[in-house]
């Protein structure tokens, strides 16, 4: 069964190679590869036993001298993220069909290359491997954004790149420290879990990891790369960044931060939650008056991620499960949002809310799908967003009631800015620009239908997904609590 995981991880890489040399057929090759991955993921999910154990474990020596192993496996938490990745990649590839990218083979190869990196991040059980995946996912997306992005792309992407890599290098520092502390001298996650570090050590390891993750998510005040990058990146890049890449940070917190330095979390978790919650309100407020829809969604993403982050640090089953499902939901929704904006940009060459309006009257299909996505984002019950947000809020509530009162403002603010945007873009009278808007068709329709279907299905019947991660999440929380109570 392990072979399945090897196949899963390296199939996209093979796909990337094929795609790179596929010439004109690159986009189809990429899609085929992505769909095969998706099918594999489905097979994997079917074979997954939803308990707390790590399954499909691979463990091969890699760089033995440095104690580095190719150690990967899947548990419930990983599975959700793997599912997210392999579900969204084909959607994103399909969503890019509206563009005629130059050097398409390189473009699609990079996407698939990134997929391998992401899968490594989400399955790694070896800190070094995790780090490698972490960076391996970053490079392709940098190129995607910088080569195919907007006119300000170079500067903005440089900032993005340096910023994120700054975080990850400090994480590397933390990893090295843990490695040195580990008497076994390897990077095995289980060995890291067993380390007994004192409070000071845990504190600074917490920060070395947290900053990396916080930048990736991004949590206030490490977020300023994000709106610029999202705005300047090509739609595909934005979707990759917001849909999947951001989850690396969340996953990192769950997998690497909480269980390794529970005392650090205990000492600094409040700070993290406060930052996250500030981020929610702050980003929501900023989103209120954004003039560019893409930027607005970018800020909204900061707010949503802030909620997820706060939910995780609340350290309880509901918050964590909420984070799991919200990762999935946010990925789907944000991809949908950016895709709709991309469709609009493709046709109108602008994402300025003031320039748009009235599209709903000429493109009803788009209007409806967009509406569903918007309501998914504002967490209307019956959509996927609600499940996550509800669980997250209940998780945060158990941490602190005032935290939830402030974090809960997202419920209101989200509605305000999202509906403002929807109104500005879709409603009202058509103007000279939007009068000639063509409704969605072909691949656009397919993508949006898939996204809407996912939003509704997850919203109505989330149980299978929740079930996948439940045991793993509970075990993780127990583990953390045990560590908290046993020592000190």
């Amino acid at each position: 069964m392990e072979q399945l995981l090897i196949l899963l991880i390296f199939l996209p890489l093979a796909g990337a190679l094929v795609t790179a040399f596929a010439g004109k057929a690159a986009k189809y090759a990429a899609l085929v590869s992505a769909i095969v991955s998706l099918v594999l993921t489905a097979v994997l999910t079917c074979n997954f036993i939803p308990d707390a154990s790590t399954q499909f474990v691979l463990n091969y020596p890699w760089i033995q001298d440095l104690g580095i192993n190719f150690h990967a496996g899947i548990d419930g938490i990983s599975l959700i993220t793997v599912l997210l990745t392999n579900l969204l990649i084909p959607v994103i590839i399909l969503a890019s069909y509206g563009h005629d990218y130059k050097r398409a083979n390189a473009f699609y190869a990079l996407i698939l290359f990134m997929q391998t990196g992401l899968l490594l991040v989400f399955t790694a059980l070896d800190a070094f491997l995790f780090y490698i995946g972490w960076e391996a996912a970053l490079i392709p997306v940098y190129f995607i954004c910088a080569v195919w992005g907007g006119k300000d792309r170079i500067k903005v992407n440089m900032k993005f790149f340096v910023y994120t890599i700054a975080g990850s290098l400090f994480m590397l520092l933390g990893i090295i420290y843990l490695y040195l502390q580990n008497p076994l001298h390897n990077f095995d996650i289980q060995a890291f879990y067993k380390l007994n570090l004192d409070a000071a050590q845990q504190g600074w390891i917490f920060w070395s990891f947290f900053i990396a993750f916080a930048i990736k998510m991004p949590v206030f005040p490490f977020h300023t790369w994000q709106p610029d990058t999202y705005t300047e990146a090509p739609a595909t890049g934005t979707m990759l960044l917001a849909g999947i890449m951001l989850k690396m940070g969340i996953y990192g917190v769950i997998r690497w931060l909480l269980p390794i330095v529970p005392h650090g979390v205990q000492d600094w978790g409040t700070t993290a939650i406060v930052l996250s919650i500030i981020g929610i309100v702050y980003a929501s407020l900023i989103a209120f008056t954004q003039k560019n829809a893409k930027r607005l969604v970018a800020y909204s993403s900061i707010a949503h991620v802030g909620l997820i982050s706060a939910g995780i640090f609340a350290l309880n089953t509901q918050g964590m499960q909420g984070a799991m499902i919200q990762m999935l939901s946010h990925g789907i929704n944000v991809v949908g949002l950016f895709f709709v904006l991309d469709i609009i940009f493709n046709r109108m060459k602008t994402n300025k809310i003031a320039d748009l309006g009235g599209i709903a009257s000429v493109a009803p299909q788009l209007a409806i799908t967009f509406l569903i996505i918007v309501f998914g984002t504002v967490a209307l019950p019956g959509t996927n967003g609600f499940i996550g947000e509800f669980l997250l809020l209940i998780g945060i509530y158990q941490y602190n009631i005032w935290a939830v009162v402030i974090a809960g403002l997202t419920v209101i603010f989200g509605a305000v800015y999202m509906l403002r945007m929807y109104q500005g873009v879709m409603l009202g009278k058509t103007n000279e620009l939007t009068i000639g808007f063509k409704d969605i068709k072909g691949s656009e329709k397919l993508v949006l239908y898939i996204i809407c279907a996912l939003i509704l299905i997850l919203g109505v019947y989330p149980k299978p997904v929740l079930h996948l991660s439940e045991a793993a999440v509970q075990q993780l929380i127990e583990q953390v609590n045990q560590k908290l109570t046993s020592v000190n």
Binding site: T289, L380, L393, V411
Partner: protein, 630 residues
């Protein structure tokens, strides 16, 4: 029969799906038929359930469908609760809903979005049913937010008008403020009782001491939720704006059903509220204030729908007053009667508007009595019903609330009665302005005025009948009835306040009836005899009139106190904090490094002498170190 309850919401959902998918392909007749038929089927089933429940000794049935969310100790099943309260709500929703659907066939016939409209209506019914059927707070919340969504969609139905779209947004956002309260209440309930199921929460809650802090917090949050949905102060301003939607929507959502969800929710949670007298007082006061405010504003409005909207606000305030004084059944009674007569009034107004080609300003109406006879007569019935003249339905329900208010606090009662007088006044003002006097519109329009088609008038007639006789389900004992409704609801709403003794009750009734009659007379003199017409917008008014006409400037106050500061904050955070400070620090680091680079590279002057000098300096310092360290 009761086990089939899942069909009740499911069928409208099917209608939504069919109409939604076929909105461009199916013919209007078919859409109208499907849209109405599904509601009718639901109605039929609801009736069946109602009688089945009546025959059943067990008054509470939980129908489990599937597990929805489960995380840790939190388990939320999707299950329905059929009990007297929900069964009666089913009847109202599907019954009134059906009539409004039928009405809409006529009303919306010429609209492009006919299919869309029906699908939205069906969806609304679905969510509303979910709201009342949910056996736990979360399912209720789904419906709660779902109806908010439909309200958003339907208010913004004519979205090309951007002020309509804004009204829709406003409605949704204001509802959301309440929803947050609801949500927090749910969290509190979950952590306090370990469950959100009604069947587990209420028995546990009954064990608690009254005035328990958590309970107070829970009920407060629930009340905030109810305020949002049921348009109470301070969250009521969305409801008048919601009149932007097509009139059947106003009738169905913003009069008969959705806005009463708050009352339903509080009635449902009466066990909790009974334990929190402080909150009950708060509810009573807020309700009363809302009732007065709504009535005061309604007096001077010129838009026929706005009058009805503020009247709705006012009536909702009444219901809250009822809840606040512990008359849950009275409040609920008013919900029912209000559903009848307010739906009727809105539909009549719709009929007028339909006839006037979407003219809503009463200053351009007048003398329509002859041209629209059915509309006139039905509207007259509705007006009398709302004014509270016996034996029309409004009389009984309003009186029950007032009687309980009197028991609770005389001042509250006095204000309540005064509000009732106001109600009678502005309702008859509306009636006179619309149907009496001379026609004040353009001649061109006058020629086209005609009575509405049967699909519209039949629902009017049915509703008029209901408005007229609907009060008999709750005839108080003092008038020889035995208050069937109260008895029916007693398994759900265990505790209810004692009614005052008969003599007092007679006196209260007399006062209110006489007062109402005087008000009507006053309106008659002013608007029929003297043919006064409200002045144009820009004309000068007295201070009080001006305040009323401009809705006490509440929208403007909100705008200045909340929206503008928030937008200013937004701009401040974005332009100053985010761009300048947070991003400025990041960019500053980059800039600093570049500047450092510019500076440092000057060291590389190209001059060998300088290089060697620097090297020597380095050597000297290293030697100094050596000297110092050994």
């Amino acid at each position: 029969m009761i086990d089939l309850v899942w069909l009740v919401p499911l069928i409208p959902l099917l209608g939504f799906i069919i109409n939604g998918l076929g909105r461009n392909t199916l013919s209007k007749n078919l859409i109208g038929f499907i849209g109405s038929a599904v509601i009718f089927i639901s109605f039929a089933i609801s009736v069946g359930i109602f009688f089945a429940l009546g025959a059943d000794a067990n008054k509470s049935h939980e129908i489990f469908l599937f597990d929805w969310i489960s995380a840790g100790s939190l388990h939320i099943p999707l299950s329905f609760l059929v009990d007297p309260l929900s069964s009666i709500m089913l009847l109202i929703i599907t019954g009134v809903g059906f009539l409004i659907h039928v009405y809409s066939i006529g009303y919306m016939h010429s609209d492009e979005g006919f299919g869309k409209f029906f699908s939205y209506l069906n969806l609304f019914i679905f969510f509303m049913l979910l709201l009342v059927l949910g056996s736990n707070y979360i399912v209720m919340f789904i419906g709660w937010e779902g109806v908010g969504l439909c309200s958003y969609l339907l208010i913004g139905f004519w979205f090309t008008n951007s002020s309509y779209a804004s009204a829709a947004k406003k409605a949704f956002v204001m509802n959301r403020i309440g929803d947050l309260g609801f949500l927090i209440a749910v969290f509190l309930i979950f952590t306090t009782f370990g469950s959100v199921e009604f069947s587990k929460v209420f028995p546990q809650a009954a064990q608690l001491m009254p005035g328990h802090a958590t309970i107070i917090l829970i009920t407060l949050c629930l009340f905030i939720g109810a305020c949002g949905k049921s348009a109470q102060i301070p969250l009521f301003t969305w409801l008048p704006d919601a009149m932007a939607g097509p009139t059947p929507v106003s009738a169905l959502i913003h009069a008969a059903t959705m806005v009463t969800a708050g009352i339903y929710m509080i009635a449902r949670s009466s066990v909790l509220f009974d334990l929190a007298p402080v909150i009950q007082h708060l509810i009573a006061i807020v309700g009363l204030a809302t009732a007065v405010l709504g009535a005061l504003i309604a007096i001077t409005q010129t838009d026929i729908k706005k009058v009805l909207a503020y009247s709705t606000v006012s009536q909702l305030g009444y219901m809250f007053l009822g809840l606040g004084v512990g008359a849950y059944d009275g409040a609920f009674f008013h919900v029912i009667t209000h559903a009848f007569f307010k739906a009727l009034l809105f539909l009549c107004a719709g009929s007028v508007i339909h006839a006037m080609h979407h003219e809503q300003d009463m200053r351009h109406m007048g003398g329509l009595r002859k041209k629209l006879p059915i509309t006139f007569w039905t509207m007259l019935i509705g007006t009398i019903a709302i004014s509270g003249l016996p034996p029309f339905s409004g009389f009984f329900s309003k009186d029950e609330i007032l009687a309980h208010a009197y028991e609770s606090n005389k001042i509250i009662w006095a204000i309540g009665v005064f509000t009732a007088f106001l109600t009678a006044f502005y309702m008859f003002r509306m009636l006179y302005l619309t149907f009496y006097g001379k026609y004040r519109g353009t001649h061109h329009a006058q020629e086209h005025i005609h009575e509405s088609p049967a699909s519209m008038t039949i629902p009017l007639i049915v509703l008029a009948v209901l408005s007229a006789i609907g009060g008999f389900i709750g005839v108080p004992e003092s008038l020889g009835g035995h208050h069937w409704l109260s008895g029916w609801l007693s398994p759900v709403i265990g505790h209810h306040a004692e009614a005052p003794d008969h003599a007092t009750e007679y006196m209260l009734m007399a006062i209110s009836v006489v007062g109402v009659l005087i008000s009507i007379g006053f309106a008659y003199v002013k608007y029929n005899k003297q043919n006064q017409v409200p002045v144009a917008d820009e004309a000068k008014r007295s201070v009080l009139e001006n305040l009323s006409y401009h809705k006490f400037y509440i929208d403007e106050i909100y705008d200045a106190v909340i929206r503008k500061p928030l937008d200013a904050f937004s701009a401040f955070f974005y332009k100053i904090v985010d761009r300048k400070i947070v991003d400025g620090i990041v960019n500053g680091l980059g800039w600093g490094t570049t500047e450092a680079s510019k500076g440092l590279r000057l060291l590389q002057s190209g001059n060998v002498g300088f290089y060697i000098f620097m090297m020597v300096a380095g050597i000297i310092s290293l030697l100094l170190y050596t000297y110092l360290s050994i």
